[in-house]
Symmetry: D2
Amino acid sequence: MLDETQRQLVTNRLKSVEGHVRGISKMVEEESYCIDILHQIKAVQKALDQVAAITLKNHLHTCVTSAIRSKNTDDKERVVDEVMQLFKATSKL
Amino acid sequence: MLDETQRQLVTNRLKSVEGHVRGISKMVEEESYCIDILHQIKAVQKALDQVAAITLKNHLHTCVTSAIRSKNTDDKERVVDEVMQLFKATSKL
Amino acid sequence: MLDETQRQLVTNRLKSVEGHVRGISKMVEEESYCIDILHQIKAVQKALDQVAAITLKNHLHTCVTSAIRSKNTDDKERVVDEVMQLFKATSKL
Amino acid sequence: MLDETQRQLVTNRLKSVEGHVRGISKMVEEESYCIDILHQIKAVQKALDQVAAITLKNHLHTCVTSAIRSKNTDDKERVVDEVMQLFKATSKL
């Protein structure tokens, strides 16, 4: 779970991503050059990667840390598996 | 440039991406589990990859085709370089 | 198809990638720190992306150009589809 | 650090990657179709992602777990930062 400050930061970034996507829709309607549209799509994906990085770092410092410190082996297995699933989704596996 | 049908398709998809991003903001505000938020971010990035694929395919069939068929060598160089820039942005180069 | 100069360039790069992978095997046997191994794996993947970029650029300038200039619509469809398949494999689609 | 079994597994996979890269060199020398070469490069990158996944999972279960369980806050910060660096290298950040 994100704390108050991080939640605000992530929410602001997502709000900005939403505006960026709306901007791309406008470019499409105004018949912009495809290559320019494609670069804006990449920029949005990069902004989302940054939101993901904030979220993941927070997750490692909170839930993953608690689960690893708890005596519960299943909890530890679960959080490691979840991080691995994410890593695999990010790679091409 | 996208034709009328493709423009509609792409605009609809981008509208749906916008809604999806708004949904993630809501998840953040409702203090959802970080891993669930991260998977939704991946899903949006995948949806954007699909929009990019439609746009690129169209670009190859229109602008790239015209430039390659024209007698202008500079035009051909330019469209190939643009596609290469995009490929490099998509890889990790 | 790559011309003589490019074939030499690509072959040299692949030879260097092979040596790099052998170096990672050695790191594993010498019980190096996992994070160092992981960064070397990323470096090899980046080197392969560069080989792919040389190969793709060449492909666009030769086969794709010929196919698009030929009168054969099927040929054009095929080369565009092949480039799209590659783009999809490179993205997360 | 990888244990004996995992070290063997990773070493075997890297050996196979080496052979695969050598095979691509041969394809280049035999003037294979560029698209076929490009797909083989993708396959090697995917195999390397699998080696990376084994290594990372092991790293989370050993070094990251020890560092998080230790009383040393710097150690915990360091391992989280290292995982984040890797995630950023894997994304497009």
